[in-house]
């Protein structure tokens, strides 16, 4: 398992809804977005490979989660949402409920110990209300969202074109932080190709409005401690997952805790929407890891096939 740290040299905008709503950006990057960005870059570098590759990529990646210095955050498992609090701590329930990201130590505790939330220091150990760490002193804000007015200028009159003003939101990361993701590869060649494509992607940017310099990053390798890929037994998803029919055996949802997200968006360079698709969110817990699948979300008018990466990236729970 390899860990890649992305340090952003420019703010980014990743649409959280996929309906051209620019005023809000997601603060982390889902695995299907990252995978699609990698494959689009791949298509520019090795166009001869892409038809096969898009259907069956040689890599499997997690979503990109926040990190700060050496502190890696993981998405809170859906099974840790329900917590029992002693009556004197009930006032904290609202704050605890909002926490979405746990540092790796807390995350491991949250999977096994029902009283894990007792360890959180709500005053000093929580950042932006959503990130919790026991070990690292967090900055006041790990990222900031900027809302900037944008407009179109008419070429004739040199005036702002009517009703074309809109707000565009971008995420600025603290310079000591960024996003990281985990990846596994079929072989050594695919790892090298992946890293080449990642360098090109860093110079091209990820997310929306790349031609205005958004989403550029530099990457380095990181060491993410204490996670093991799940082959069997209880597993937590670190990516979005769309189950393969083979995953859906009798009782496959027994003891599972999950959230669903709806994913949409545009097909690059076509101005056509993708078919919407629902996936299990990061942090979903299942009795055994799901294989997941590349889902064909093609639209009739287009000559090329369009896929969405719904293959699971699972780690052992506990």
């Amino acid at each position: 398992m390899h860990c890649y740290r992305l340090t952003f040299t420019a703010p980014f905008h990743v649409d959280s809804r996929g309906n051209a709503f620019y005023e809000e950006s997601s603060s982390f990057i889902h695995s299907d977005t990252l995978s699609a960005a990698m494959l689009a870059t791949w298509a520019l570098i090795w166009p001869e490979q892409i038809a096969l590759h898009a259907q069956n990529p040689t890599f499997r990646i997690s979503s990109a989660f926040p990190f700060y210095r050496d502190c890696y955050f993981l998405p809170r498992a859906a099974s840790s949402q329900a917590i029992r609090l002693p009556s004197e701590k009930l006032k904290q329930a609202k704050k605890l409920k909002k926490i979405q990201w746990l540092d790796s130590k807390l995350w491991h505790t949250s999977l096994t110990n029902p009283n894990w939330a007792d360890a959180i220091d709500l005053k000093n150990g929580v950042c932006q209300g959503v990130l919790a760490s026991q070990t690292t002193t967090l900055p006041e804000k790990l990222w900031l969202e900027e809302d900037r007015p944008r407009l179109a200028i008419d070429r004739n009159s040199n005036q702002a074109a009517d009703s074309q003003i809109f707000n565009f939101s971008r995420i600025w990361f603290d310079k000591n932080g960024g996003l990281y993701f985990l990846a596994v590869f079929n072989d050594e060649t695919s790892r090298q190709q992946f890293e080449t494509a990642l360098s090109v992607l860093g110079d091209s940017g990820i997310g929306a409005d790349r031609t205005s310099g958004n989403g550029c990053f530099s990457w380095s390798k990181g060491q993410m401690p204490g996670l093991q890929l799940a082959e069997q037994g209880q597993a937590v998803a670190l990516s979005l997952v769309n189950p393969d029919p083979g995953d859906c055996q009798t009782g496959w949802l027994d003891g599972a805790a999950y959230k669903l997200v709806s994913r949409g968006g545009w097909i690059g360079g076509s101005g056509i929407r993708k078919n919407r698709l629902r996936m299990f969110a990061e942090g979903s817990v299942f009795a055994r890891p799901l294989q997941g699948r590349m889902v064909n979300v093609s639209v009739d008018q287009l000559p090329q096939k369009v896929y969405r990466d719904g293959r699971g990236f699972f780690v052992k729970a506990g």
């Binding site: 420019a10 179109a152 091209s204 310099g213 000559p303």
Partner: protein, 263 residues
């Protein structure tokens, strides 16, 4: 879109240098959270550091619209391109033909795209460390690193004054800019670089940001490095290297404006 085009990436060219504001520069930001007694129109600032910056979209948009206006209607210039006229209305919009040079350089709307990536990327230009230091320690700035300029609108009949205030980055401020040109196999790099040089020159002779007709936003570009990172260099994990002198010479004599800094 009958057949699929598979363009192949050749290299990326990084053009880096500085933008000097020759007159006060106003690129509008969000007025939400405006302080009492503050300026009516504030400039855009980096939310992390509170420094004013020049958004890539502003510089890119200005380059594009000036180049397109210089070329005229796209239909009459099928090689290089220009703006497109909205049918039935006298409204000029960005070019839509992906085959023209300007269409390739700046991109066209997604539904007209022919499967090629947009060639030019303009990154946000941030204050240079020296300029930041100078502005932070300047004794006479009204807001952090900026000046507030009051302008008055006089009623022609009653002579009543209606004042308003603009926040500006003072003349002399320097920003570091970076343009990234993506080249595909078969592209003529000097053609695109020439267009970029012309775009920068046109911006020098026009203005950047708001209120250009009242003297705001005169800028000067100076290109310091021109580097290329080719596909083999990406594959070996090598950094970008300097391009040959012939290409560098393109940017060595950007026609200066002869406006004194701080004038």
């Amino acid at each position: 879109m009958s057949e699929q085009i598979n363009p192949k990436l050749k290299s990326k060219i990084f053009i880096k240098g500085t933008i000097t504001a020759l007159t006060g520069l106003h690129i509008g930001g969000n007025s939400i959270g405006m302080a009492i007694g503050g300026a009516d129109k504030v400039v855009v600032r980096n939310p992390l550091t509170n420094e004013p910056y020049i958004p890539g979209s502003s510089l890119r948009g200005k380059m594009r619209s000036l180049l397109e206006r210089a070329r005229g209607d796209e239909k009459h210039n099928p090689m290089e391109g220009g703006f497109s006229l909205k049918e039935g209305k006298l409204e000029a919009q960005a070019g839509i033909n992906p085959e023209t040079l300007l269409g390739k350089l700046f991109g066209v709307s997604a539904d007209k795209n022919n499967g090629q990536p947009t060639r030019l990327m303009v990154r946000d230009a941030h204050l240079t460390p020296a300029s930041k230091n100078q502005l932070e320690n300047a004794p006479n700035t009204d807001m952090p690193m900026t000046e507030v300029k009051t302008e008055v609108n006089i009623d022609r009949i009653t002579s009543a004054a209606n004042p308003r205030q603009f926040e500006r980055v003072p003349a002399g401020a320097e920003f570091a800019f970076e343009l990234v040109l993506t080249l595909l196999e078969g592209d003529d790099e000097s053609q695109f670089l020439n267009l970029i040089r012309e775009g920068l020159e046109l911006v020098q002779h026009d203005s950047l940001g708001g209120h250009g007709s009242r003297g705001y936003g005169a800028v000067e570009f100076s290109v310091q490095t021109l580097q290329e990172r080719t596909m083999p260099q990406y594959q070996k994990g090598e950094p970008a290297a300097d391009v040959n002198e012939k290409l560098m010479a393109l940017f060595s004599n950007l026609q200066a404006q002869n406006v004194a800094v701080g004038a």
